[in-house]
Amino acid sequence: MSDTRVDPVGEFSVESLKANPRQARKERLIRDSLGATALVSVLISALIIWSLFSEAWTFIIEVDWGSVWDIGWFPRRGIYDIKTLIVASLIVTGIAMIVAGPLGLGAAIFLSEYARPGLRRTLKPILEILAGIPSVVLGFFALEWIAPNVVKSIFAGPAAGSLLAAGIGVGVLTIPLVASISEDAMKAVPMALREASSGLGARKITTTVRVVLPASVSGLTAAFIVAISRALGETMVVFMAGGAAQTATYTHSALDGSLTMTAGMASLARGTDAVVGEGLTFQSLFFVGLVLFVMTFGLNLVADRFVHRVREQY
C-alpha cells in the first residue's frame, strides 16, 4: 500500500505536484468573483460622491448666493437659506444627545458593570428590539405621544410637531446606539484593571467611575460621535414631527417647528412632481445632501479613529 503512493524512481517529479489546471482555474475564478463583490462597495462610494457633486456643483455655480443666506428655506421661491436647516439640525441633534447621552450611557454602565448575567440576558435583547424599531414608528410616536404629553405638558410647547418633539424622538432612536457602543467599550476594559482597583479596597462605584470609565473613554467618545452623526442624518422623525412642511422660516427656538437638512430634503422630494421643480430646486436637494454628507463623513472618520484606539489599547 505504501510504496505505490509515491514512486521515487522516475515518475515522481514537480509535474506530480502541479495543480490540476481545471481546479486552479475554478479557484481563481471564485477568488476573482469574490474580489469583485468587495469592489462593489468602492463603486458605491464613488457613485454617491459623483451623484452628490455633479448636481450640487450646478447649484453652487448657478445659485444667487444671497439666497443661501436669507430668511428661511423656501426652495420653490428660490430662497435656499442653508443656515435655517443647519441650525434646526443642530438643535435637534443637541436635544437628541441630551436625551440619549445619559440614558444610553447609564444603561451601558448598568449592563456592563452591574447587571447579573441573567438580568443582562433579559434586558439587552429588549434594548436591541428598541434599536430595530423603524424611524417612521418613532416619528409617529414623537408626533402623537411625545408632542402632547411631553412638549405641551412639561415645556408648554405646541401639541403638534416641533423641533423639541423631533429631538426627543431622535434621542430615543439613538439610545440603543449609544448604549451598545459604550457597553462594548467598557467590556473591552480588562478584568485585571477592575480587580486591581477592588483589590485596593475601592468600592464598585469608585472602580466604575475612576477606573472603567476613564479606561474606556475612547470608545465612549466614539459612541457619542457616532450618535451625533446618526442624529444629524435621521430623516423620518424630524420630517414627521418637526412641525414644518415644505418651507421653514429661520428659528433657533426648539419649541418652533422647522426643517432640518434631512427633513428639508424629504419634504422637497415629497410627491411625484416636487423633485423636478422650478429653477434650482432639484439641485438644491443635492447641495443640502452634500453638506450633510460632508458633516457625517467627517464625524464617522473621527469616530473610527477612536474605535481603533480602543482596539490598539487592549
Partner: protein, 318 residues
C-alpha cells in the same frame, strides 16, 4: 502574641465598624439605582410606544383586519376599502431586491475580505470605505437612487419604480451585511481551517465545507437584521419617489410588470402618508397606527429571531 498586641481592642473595633459600613454605602446605592433607572426609562419608552400604537390601531385591526390587509389607499379614512395591500406588495418586492442583490454581494465581499484579501493598504481602504458607507445617512442613499436609478437609468428601472427603490435599499443595507458577515467569518477557529487544509482541501473547498457552515448562523443573523432595517427604511423611498396621495394601481404580489412601473408604495411610506393626512382627516392617525403594527410585526419578528439565534449559538459555542 505580637499580632494580638498589634490588633488591639481599639483597632479591631475600628475594623468591625469599617466592615459594617459597607452596607451603608449610600452613594454606591444611589449610583446603581440611577443607572437602573436610565435603563428602565428606555424600556418604559418602548412600552409606552407599543401601547400607544396598539391603542390607536385597536379599532382598525379588530374591526376589519382582513379588509385592512387587502384594502388600498383611499382619500377618506372611513372608506371601508382603505388598506395596506399596495404597500405590502411594495415592501415584499423591496425585500426580494435586498435578498437577491445585497445578500450575495455582501457575503461574497465578507468572504473575500476575511479569507482572500492581502493585508495591505488597499484592503484597509476597502474596509474603511465599508465602515463609512454604514454611517452615511439613509437620505443620502435616496439621493443616489434619485440621481442614478430614477434619472440616469430610468429607461431600465422605469424611473420612480419599485426596482429603483429596491436597488437603492439593497445598496443601503449592503455595508451592514458585509460587516456582520465579516464578524461571523472571523469567528471561525483557525484549527478548523488548518484541519481542512491538512487533508488537501483547496481554499474554496475549505471555505465551503468549514467556514460557511460554521459562520452560517452569524451570517444569517446579520442578514435578518439588515432585512428588517431595509423594510423599515422610509427616507430613501421618499427621494426615489414613492407616490404621494393615492396610488391608482393595485398589482398582486407576483405581478412582475409592477416592478418597473412608474409608481409604488411601501409600508413605511404609507405610514408617513397617513400621518400627514391625519391633519385634515384625524381618522388616518388610526390607519397609520394599524399600518405600524403590521410593519412592527415583521420587523420585531425578524429582529427577535436574529437575536435569539445569535444568543443560542453564542451559548452553544461558549
Amino acid at each position: 502574641m505580637a499580632k494580638a498586641r498589634l490588633v488591639g481592642h481599639r483597632t479591631s473595633k475600628v475594623m468591625a465598624q469599617a466592615m459594617e459600613r459597607r452596607t451603608a454605602d449610600v452613594r454606591g446605592r444611589v449610583f446603581q439605582m440611577s443607572l437602573l433607572t436610565t435603563l428602565l426609562i428606555s424600556l418604559f419608552i418602548l412600552g409606552v410606544l407599543i401601547v400607544d400604537v396598539a391603542i390607536d390601531a385597536w379599532g382598525v385591526l379588530t374591526g376589519r383586519p382582513g379588509g385592512f390587509l387587502s384594502g388600498t389607499m383611499r382619500s377618506l379614512s372611513d372608506d371601508p376599502k382603505l388598506g395596506v395591500h399596495q404597500a405590502l406588495v411594495g415592501t415584499f418586492w423591496i425585500a426580494v431586491f435586498v435578498a437577491v442583490l445585497a445578500f450575495p454581494v455582501g457575503i461574497g465581499a465578507a468572504i473575500w475580505l476575511e479569507e482572500y484579501a492581502p493585508k495591505n493598504r488597499f484592503t484597509r481602504f476597502i474596509e474603511l470605505n465599508i465602515r463609512n458607507l454604514a454611517g452615511v445617512p439613509s437620505v443620502v442613499y435616496g439621493l443616489l437612487g434619485l440621481f442614478l436609478f430614477v434619472e440616469g437609468l430610468g429607461g431600465i428601472t422605469g424611473g420612480k419604480s419599485i426596482a429603483s427603490a429596491g436597488i437603492t435599499l439593497a445598496i443601503l443595507v449592503l455595508p451592514i451585511v458585509v460587516i456582520t458577515a465579516q464578524e461571523a467569518i472571523r469567528a471561525v477557529p483557525q484549527e478548523l481551517k488548518e484541519g481542512a487544509y491538512g487533508v488537501g482541501a483547496t481554499k474554496w473547498t475549505m471555505i465551503r465545507s468549514q467556514v460557511l457552515p460554521y459562520a452560517a448562523p452569524g451570517v444569517l443573523t446579520g442578514t435578518l437584521l439588515s432585512m428588517s432595517r431595509g423594510i423599515g427604511e422610509a427616507a430613501p423611498l421618499l427621494l426615489v419617489g414613492a407616490v404621494s396621495g393615492r396610488l391608482g394601481t393595485n398589482p398582486g404580489f407576483f405581478d412582475l410588470s409592477a416592478i418597473n412601473a412608474e409608481a409604488f408604495m411601501a409600508m413605511p411610506v404609507i405610514i408617513v402618508e397617513w400621518v400627514q393626512s391625519s391633519g385634515r382627516d384625524p381618522g388616518f392617525a388610526e390607519a397609520a397606527a394599524a399600518a405600524i403594527v403590521v410593519l412592527l410585526v415583521f420587523v420585531i419578528l425578524m429582529n427577535a429571531a436574529a437575536i435569539l439565534m445569535r444568543n443560542h449559538f453564542e451559548k452553544k459555542r461558549g
